[in-house]
């Protein structure tokens, strides 16, 4: 039991948190910080 909940449920709780905040938001921030800027090339379309 962690925080009064079964370990399997706690893993779900942590899993959802990790997917949202580490995997997608964390990756998104890293992605935004990448230097390549295709938008300038794209504006010619």
């Amino acid at each position: 039991m962690i925080a009064n909940m079964p370990t399997s449920t706690f893993l779900l709780y942590i899993g959802v948190f990790l997917v949202q905040f580490v995997f997608v938001i964390g990756y998104g921030i890293w992605w935004c910080l990448q230097g390549r800027d295709p938008s300038r090339k794209d504006k010619r379309n």
Binding site: T9, L12, V16, F23, V24, Y27, P38
Partner: protein
């Protein structure tokens, strides 16, 4: 007080529709808002259209019923945004601009060099979105009537007239601007009901909230702490839903239009983060609110899980905040409806009127655009009064019908340079027959969900036909597009 807030909210939506109508000059403005939206507008448009009113009422109800296991749905939505913007989004935007078109069927026509594909795609959008609009209008009528204390017909009429007026006046621009305001209201409403319920249940939000909540849930029903909700959450269904959720951005026309209308491909990066923050706030606040309701509501008065929110509002929120939450629920459903109306109207006018009556359409394009939007307000409104059986069924299969009709042809646009028009057309037509037939006649006897049939069947049909008609040489325009993809 609640009614006053709702009246102010409705007035604001109509005013935004009026402002948008003054900025709309041509079809590009009317159906794509001028294709100049930055990450915030793109994100709120995409997320508010996807996270419908069902979420603001249904999520707390599901958490009341199935406890922590309901949080599993929270994994799907961020993955939906990741796939929509990161995996598909930039290439989709690039392809849409490369072909210089206004609608998804036009993009498919140019990619596959086939007028038939454009017409089939337009018909699929008219059937799928038209049918789902009837279901959405029906939900609008039910939610409006429950919230405003009116009968169903009055609720339906008020909801449809408000969303109809701002969509007909301002088109996609009005839809995006109202979605932005509606998204903010949804976030504020969710945070408000979460903190008010925590206050009523445990004296406020604190670091001990999680163990306190779990101890209380264990004493009420230990199944609420179980990872399967005591068997209430079907993990096999959940995996099918997760797989389909990832395809929403590419395969649902009312979602992919938010990607087409971005200012540039880089917009996708910040838009993805904004979408996930939006969805995370809703997922955590609404799921925990539903579970904390056990400490606030008398179990005897909750006849079904959807009653949790209507019962909770007067108990924990002031009339002012109650009005904000009700506005949030209405906002959520109106944002979903407006997205569908504009995309369905674009297919009717740009892909049907323009082909059937080209000279008349070219003389008065804005008139016909607004007629198209009016058709998708008035017809669903009429059918929603008393839906005939066929319309009821279209509402049931519309989601799978749309997702799988467009799945492989759209993946072909951005990921398969050798995709052929025969494969795209065969997949579209087969799925448009298989999904309705399976849903109505075969789903029950076989026990196999139509969504699973579509998920497996669409790629199988596409790749089988593609193998037969595959050409070794790519068209110059496709080569040029793939060169552009290489710059990403």
């Amino acid at each position: 007080m609640m009614i006053a807030i709702l009246v102010v909210y409705f007035g604001l939506m109509l005013f935004i529709g009026y402002l948008a109508s003054r900025k709309v000059r041509d079809s590009r403005d009317y159906f794509l808002g001028g294709k100049g939206f930055g990450p915030w507008f793109t994100a709120f448009k995409f997320a508010a259209t996807w996270e419908s009113g069902v979420k603001l009422v249904g999520s707390p109800g599901m958490a009341w019923n199935a406890g922590w296991s309901s949080l599993a749905m929270g994994i799907g939505t961020p993955l939906c945004y990741f796939f929509s913007f990161r995996v598909f989004g930039q290439r989709l935007k690039m392809a849409f601009d490369h072909f210089n078109v206004l609608t998804l069927p036009q993009m498919l026509e140019k990619r596959y060099n086939s007028r038939a594909i454009r017409i089939v795609a337009a018909v699929a959008i008219l059937i799928g979105l038209g049918g789902s609009l009837v279901a959405q209008f029906k939900a609008t009528g039910e939610i409006f009537s429950a919230i405003l204390g009116l009968d169903y017909l009055h609720g339906l009429f008020i909801g449809a007239v408000i969303v109809g007026i701002y969509c007909i006046m301002g088109g996609y621009l009005a839809s995006v601007w109202t979605d932005f305001i509606q998204g903010i209201i949804m976030v504020l409403g969710s945070i408000a009901i979460f903190s008010a319920t925590a206050q009523a249940a445990f004296g406020g939000v604190s670091w001990d909230l999680l163990p306190q909540l779990n101890a209380a849930l264990a004493s009420i029903d230990p199944n609420l702490l179980d990872v399967t909700g005591g068997g209430k959450m079907s993990w096999s269904n959940l995996f099918i839903i997760l797989a389909i959720t990832m395809l929403v951005g590419i395969a649902m026309p009312q979602q992919s239009v938010a990607i087409f209308s971005m200012r540039d491909v880089r917009t996708a990066r910040v838009a993805m983060i904004v979408c996930v923050v939006f969805s995370a706030i809703l997922a955590w606040s609404l799921a925990t609110t539903g579970m904390m309701s056990h400490m606030v509501l008398d179990p005897g008065e909750v006849k079904n899980p959807d009653m949790v929110i209507p019962l909770l509002i007067p108990k924990v929120l002031s009339p002012f905040m109650g009005g904000i939450y009700l506005a949030a629920v209405l906002a959520a459903i109106m944002s979903t409806v407006s997205g569908s109306i504009v995309v369905a109207a674009s297919s009717l006018t740009e892909d049907i009127f323009k082909l059937a009556i080209p000279h008349r359409y070219e003389r008065h394009p804005m008139f016909y655009n607004r007629v198209g939007a009016a058709v998708f307000v008035l017809l669903p409104l009429l059918f929603a009064v008393n839906p005939p059986t066929i319309i009821f069924w279209i509402g049931v299969f519309a989601f799978g019908f749309l997702v799988f009709t467009f799945l492989m042809p759209m993946i072909g646009v951005i990921l398969i340079p050798g995709a052929t028009k025969q494969a795209a057309l065969a997949q579209m037509v087969s799925i448009m027959i298989i999904i309705p037939v399976w849903t109505i006649w075969l789903q029950k006897p076989t026990g196999i969900p139509a969504l699973l049939v579509g998920l497996v069947g669409a790629p199988l049909i596409f790749f089988a036909v593609n193998a037969v008609f595959k050409k070794n040489e790519l068209a110059p325009e496709i080569k040029e597009l793939w060169n552009k993809f290489g710059q990403l």
